[in-house]
């Protein structure tokens, strides 16, 4: 269950995060919702490690195989003998292999990005349109059976200067 507090600036949002951590909420359950990126630690600390690049690498390998099969495979299936030149020409095969490698690496990067961000979401999540206008959102995740913790988090955020708070329960 997610609880969201909306703050007018980074100072109050930062204070809320500090209070939440002091009250025993694990830092990895707290995140910020902003319309511009902030350096790590200004609002919350986030895991910087990502795995989506591997999908890009996988896409590139798949593209290379597909490109080679497309260029060399069609030449092999429909052979056109030109003098004593080879049926499978290295130069065009290299070009097509390269282009498809890059194409699928790009596609892999984008698909991997969405997978890693878990977008599009399968359920409705807490959000406030004021975030797009510069407000700062601080969200904390608790389990469904921790309703009291959610209420506690809302109180802490209100005390820190939240303009309003909402909970996933109210959606």
């Amino acid at each position: 269950m997610e609880t969201l507090g909306i703050f007018k600036d980074t100072e109050t949002a930062g204070r809320a995060v500090e209070s939440l951590v002091k009250s025993g909420f694990p830092e990895e359950t707290i995140t910020s919702l902003t319309s511009t990126p902030y350096p790590d630690g200004v609002l919350v600390k986030t895991n910087q490690r990502t795995w989506f690049r591997w999908l890009s690498v996988g896409g590139g390998i798949f593209g290379a195989c597909a490109g080679f099969a497309l260029a060399a495979g069609t030449a092999y299936l429909y052979p056109l003998q030109t003098g004593d030149k080879p049926i499978i020409s290295y130069y065009p095969t290299g070009i097509i292999t390269y282009e498809l490698t890059m194409l699928f690496a790009i596609l892999g990067a984008l698909v991997g990005m969405f997978m890693e961000m878990k977008l599009p979401p399968w359920r409705k999540r807490v959000y406030d349109p004021a975030i797009g206008e510069g407000a700062i959102g601080i969200s904390i995740s608790t389990t469904r059976d921790q309703l009291s913790r959610s209420c506690e988090a809302q109180k802490i955020m209100q005390n820190a200067g939240a303009l309003r708070t909402t909970s996933e329960e109210t959606l």
Partner: protein, 456 residues
């Protein structure tokens, strides 16, 4: 806009100003869209006439079988080159001044490569048999479509580039689409909600987003270089005098960047004026882009000089014949090209005052692109006119059909761009606002310092 002025504006004000292009269209906007649509429709009707008749309605005839359509193709591919590439290079180098110009440049790439991709199909003749060129089509009727033909290299490279640059444009827009979603209502909100994919701007989303932007920028640059190299190989791998040259791929890439950078500046000037974005596209941006154009024009001048000097010194008869024919028959065009691509930009852009003058930059960049279109013409037509066999030497003049299709292509590009600016944010809002946040000043003793240090 100065940092102080930026800081003085709230996020809402910044959003309002940068999304001003998306306000309800005025009658002038409808008038422009109608005019561009009418010219594009005229081009389309000329193409329909060509399909209904045959290729004899064009000026193409032996020995010149590549004419204005292929000139257009090379020109539009070239134009597409710089948008994404400039954006990607500036992203990788973390140049802060890039932020307001990213979107305009990336959108230009997508629309110009789309227009470019149409020209091989327009040029094809018997368009209803277009599926014959797509592999793996069996070798019926004695046709062997295979990848030995550079035209299929083109098709593959352009497809990759259209998809890659469209995704690059979309990726950069993702946080902005969420901002637009939050401000929209009705059917617009539904569309932008789908396009924004549920983006909320969590800290984790930003981490992944930034890493993806860097990776995509690194991936798209070699694709951009390969596309124009492959277009150059369309010419260079033939044995036609004037084309069969090892310098062609880098020369084409340099030419492409020249026209692309010039076009980005032209579009920046138009967008700035039309949408009153003077606070975001400042003389500093034109100064920096002017320096970039100066360097690229110098490189182009060097490459052209090397090409001509080698031909002149070697004096290989057929190569020299082609150059003599070109410089004799097309003297005014050749002079215009040299002035527009070399003499004028190289001399004028040395002066800071000119680089910071919006009017002067508009004149220079438009001339650079007219000259670059002429350059494409002078590469293609003279070489085909005077090939190795003198008994089939000839000339070429474009017909009204080719000129109409060309006009339609320019109008189509402008129309796509006009529609894009109305439906999508033309300035990268979150990128600009990120700089605003980073440069917001805090007081330390008597001094004021940036709140977050950034690499310049």
């Amino acid at each position: 806009m100065s940092e102080h002025e930026m800081a003085a504006k709230s996020a809402k004000q910044l959003n309002d100003e940068m999304l001003s292009s998306m306000r309800t269209p005025t009658w002038r906007w409808y008038g422009l869209a109608f005019f561009l649509g009418a010219v594009a429709a005229w081009g389309l009707s000329a193409f329909t006439y060509q399909v209904m008749t045959d290729m004899s309605v064009t000026g193409l005839d032996r020995p010149v079988m590549w004419g204005l359509y292929i000139v257009n193709f090379v020109f539009w591919v070239g134009l597409s080159h710089s948008g994404t590439m400039v954006s990607a290079i500036l992203r990788l180098s973390q140049a802060n001044w890039r932020r307001p110009i990213l979107r305009a440049a990336e959108a230009m790439t997508v629309f110009s490569i789309t227009i470019a991709g149409l020209f091989p199909l327009i040029h094809l003749g018997r368009n209803w048999l277009v599926y014959f060129i797509f592999p793996p089509y069996p070798s019926q009727r004695g046709l062997w479509p295979n990848f030995r033909s550079p035209l299929l290299w083109d098709a593959t490279a352009i497809t990759t580039y259209i998809i890659g640059s469209s995704l690059f444009l979309y990726l950069g827009m993702l946080p902005d689409l969420a901002v637009v979603r939050d401000r929209s209502s009705g059917w617009r909100k539904k569309i932008f909600a789908i396009l924004a994919m549920g983006w909320r701007g969590t800290a984790r989303e930003w981490v992944v987003f930034r890493q993806t932007s860097t990776l995509m920028a690194a991936l798209i640059i070699p694709v951009a270089v390969s596309v124009h190299s492959i277009v150059a190989w369309d010419f260079a791998v033939t044995v036609i005098p004037g084309w069969h040259s090892t310098i062609f791929p880098p020369y084409f890439v340099i030419g492409a960047i020249t026209s692309g950078v010039a076009a980005v500046i032209t579009l920046m000037i138009i967008i700035r004026r039309v949408f009153h974005l003077e606070d975001y596209l400042t003389p500093q941006h034109f100064d920096n882009m002017g320096k970039l154009l100066l360097v690229i024009c110098l490189l182009w001048s060097y490459a052209y000089f090397v090409e001509v000097q080698t031909t002149w010194y070697a004096h290989e008869p057929i190569e020299w014949e082609v150059f003599s024919f070109m410089s004799g028959k097309y003297t005014p065009l050749l002079i215009f090209m040299l002035i527009g691509n070399s003499v004028l930009p190289v001399t004028a852009l040395c002066f800071r005052k000119i680089r910071r003058s919006v009017k002067m930059m508009l004149v220079i960049t438009v001339l650079v692109n007219i000259a670059m279109f002429i350059e494409r013409f002078l590469i293609i037509v003279p070489s085909l006119s005077h090939k190795n066999m003198p008994f089939i030497w000839g000339t070429y003049s474009p017909s009204w059909v080719e000129l109409s299709v060309t006009a339609g292509a320019f109008a189509g590009f402008a129309l796509l761009y006009t529609l894009f600016t109305k439906f999508f944010p033309i300035v990268a809002i979150t990128d600009v606002r990120e700089l605003d946040v980073r440069q917001a000043e805090v007081r330390l003793g008597r001094a004021k310092l940036p709140s977050i240090t950034t690499k310049e």
